[in-house]
């Protein structure tokens, strides 16, 4: 307490802040965002909860699958995504809003006044974390469904067309939903709003529209981020979906592309708001 000024000052450095010192480069901001993410206990629990939710739901639903249901082995493994996607959404939303809801934004953006590098670093961190979470969820779901697949549920057969993609789809769709949550969070700056809005976009609107099939509603369904869940379907299911829809047929990767477009647009809007609007 008595040493008021740094020891380094004692070396006679009368010049404060030699101009040669460099500021917030992108790798530095990325390192900072990584520290921010890993230093919050909530985030660890969130990743764990997401993995557990995926595995538990896959196991639970697997118990009720009968051989003649028309469900595939990949469906059994990835079915937990319906609940786990909320975990990805919350993850992204919290990364983006934690600064704004706690007042940390003032510290963050005085250190990085150009602001955009912070959002980009958050995109990178969220992508990596979502990839890891998705991979863990996939492994956990696979392990959890070993007993049910050994019983009545269909076995996981990589020879079934599209199975490998459907398994990978759990990870990819998870990343997409997490980034959507990040974009909505950065745009709205409130976690509750981002989570509710995100859930409507990735799940509820689709459910509502499904009750009213028609050309207009099917087109709308195909253009919502919820189309990203098609990444989790094998070829046969996708073909069946495309055969019954009265809207555009999205094919194998179309659903993922729709989700990606949403992510890019929402993140761009968030970036615009971040740069243009005052930070409180």
């Amino acid at each position: 307490m008595t040493a008021l000024v740094t020891g380094r000052r004692a070396d006679g450095g009368a010049v404060r802040g030699a101009p040669a010192r460099r500021g917030p480069t992108f790798p530095r901001v990325l390192r900072s965002e990584t520290t921010r993410f890993t230093s919050l206990r909530t985030n660890g629990w969130l990743v764990l909860g997401t993995v557990a939710a995926a595995a538990a739901v896959a196991y639970g639903l697997g118990l009720f699958v009968r051989p003649d249901d028309g469900r595939s082995g990949s469906w059994v493994v990835t079915s937990g995504f319906v609940l786990a996607q909320l975990g990805f959404l919350v993850l992204g939303a919290l990364v983006a809003t934690a600064d704004h809801t706690t007042g940390t934004a003032r510290t963050t953006f005085t250190a990085v006044p150009r602001r955009l590098p912070v959002l980009l670093a958050q995109v990178v961190v969220t992508t990596v974390v979502a990839l890891v979470t998705g991979a863990l969820a996939l492994v956990a779901s696979w392990v959890a469904t070993v007993p049910v697949r050994a019983a009545d549920a269909p076995a996981l057969d990589l020879a079934v067309p599209g199975t490998a993609r459907a398994l990978l789809g759990l990870v990819l769709a998870g990343v997409g939903v997490a980034l959507l949550g990040l974009g909505l969070g950065a745009l709205l700056r409130r976690p509750a709003g981002a989570i509710v809005g995100g859930l409507v976009l990735v799940l509820l609107a689709d459910q509502l529209l499904a009750a009213n099939p028609g050309r207009f509603t099917d087109t709308l369904r195909a253009s919502l981020p919820s189309a990203g869940a098609r990444l989790l379907q094998d070829d046969a299911t996708l073909a069946a979906l495309d055969a019954t829809t009265r809207g555009p047929q999205l094919g194998v990767w179309g659903g993922g592309a729709v989700l990606a477009v949403w992510v890019v647009v929402v993140l761009a809007a968030a970036g615009y708001r971040l740069v243009r609007h005052d930070v409180r």
Binding site: A3, T6, G17, S32, G103, T107
Partner: protein
């Protein structure tokens, strides 16, 4: 060096800052004084680039804040005691901030030591008292060893020890040639540690003067209490000097329009023995009202010229 010129900030129809101009110079502690809601925090947020000015400019070391190559090394900022995530430890909070500028862990530990937070460095910021949060904010401001410091109400919530520590800290930082801009709504606080004060009210500049000038001015606005062996003679002497005198019980007088020095010398002149002499505490409200009334005169006399 902070230069604010004709700065105006509006939120919808409310004007928070209205044509404010002032300069905070290296080697001095510039106090930023005004009642709550006067626009101090808004001005500071504009200075550090968190908010955009409606019109006017603000420069740090001759540049816009956003154009500073290394903001943390140029300006240390503490705007709010609650500016760390409650779930993050003090150490990790500072580390993440340091990493944006490639500042090492050693420096993080150094500022933790400097602000007396080593013992609680591994505790979550959410468990901190207001005073500890304030220290953490100051630690963040010192992190980049900056040439300029912007501190919003730094003594808020500190215990008497902490208040003394902040006063000494800002004096030392200024003595090293740094620019310190420090806001407060307490006149006596600034009187103890600032060289110059910039007084604002309702977003407008009311005074930009040395502390002594402002203190003298407000002392003249306040009352001096004097008890003497010969109240009548002293009262006559003071009235002749143009002061306003109100007799009190027990031979005491309340004098307005004269400083303690004035009353003391007057007593000596007329040979009345002084038993007690003190300036009654001038409330900020009094000083502030006085400044509002004298605003035009002050602006004319002020070093940086008028706002309008």
């Amino acid at each position: 060096m902070i230069e604010v010129e004709a700065l105006t900030k509006r939120y919808g129809s409310t004007t928070a800052v209205d044509g404010l101009t002032f300069t905070a110079r290296p080697g001095t502690v510039t106090g930023f004084l005004g009642p709550n809601g006067a626009g101090k925090s808004t001005t500071m947020r504009v200075v550090v680039g968190l908010e955009r000015a409606t019109s006017g400019t603000s420069r740090v070391d001759g540049r816009r804040y956003a154009d500073l190559p290394a903001p943390l090394h140029a300006v240390g900022v503490m705007l709010d005691a609650r500016s760390a995530h409650p779930g993050r430890t003090a150490y990790k909070h500072l580390l993440s901030l340091a990493q944006t500028h490639g500042i090492g862990r050693a420096r993080v530990r150094e500022v933790l030591g400097q602000t007396g937070l080593e013992a609680v460095a591994r505790r979550r910021a959410g468990t901190f008292s207001l005073g500890m949060g304030q220290r953490l904010g100051i630690a963040g401001a010192l992190l980049g060893d900056p040439r300029t410091l912007v501190l919003d109400e730094p003594v808020n919530g500190l215990d008497p020890d902490g208040v003394l520590w902040v006063r000494r800290l800002v004096r030392e930082l200024a003595a090293e040639g740094r620019t310190v801009l420090l806001s407060s709504h307490l006149m006596h606080e600034l009187a103890l540690c600032a060289d110059r004060v910039v007084v604002i009210g309702r977003g407008r500049l009311l005074a930009d003067a040395s502390v002594q000038e402002v203190v003298d001015r407000s002392e003249r606005a306040g009352t001096v209490r004097v008890r003497t062996t010969d109240p009548e003679r002293l009262a006559r002497e003071l009235l002749a000097a143009g002061a306003e005198v109100t007799p009190q019980e027990g031979g005491a007088l309340h004098v307005r329009g004269a400083t303690v020095d004035d009353v003391g010398t007057a007593a000596q002149r007329c040979g009345a023995a002084v038993l007690e002499l003190a300036a009654e505490q001038v409330s900020l409200e009094d000083a502030y009202l006085q400044l509002t009334a004298d605003a035009v005169e002050y602006r004319a006399a002020g070093a940086s010229g008028g706002a309008r």
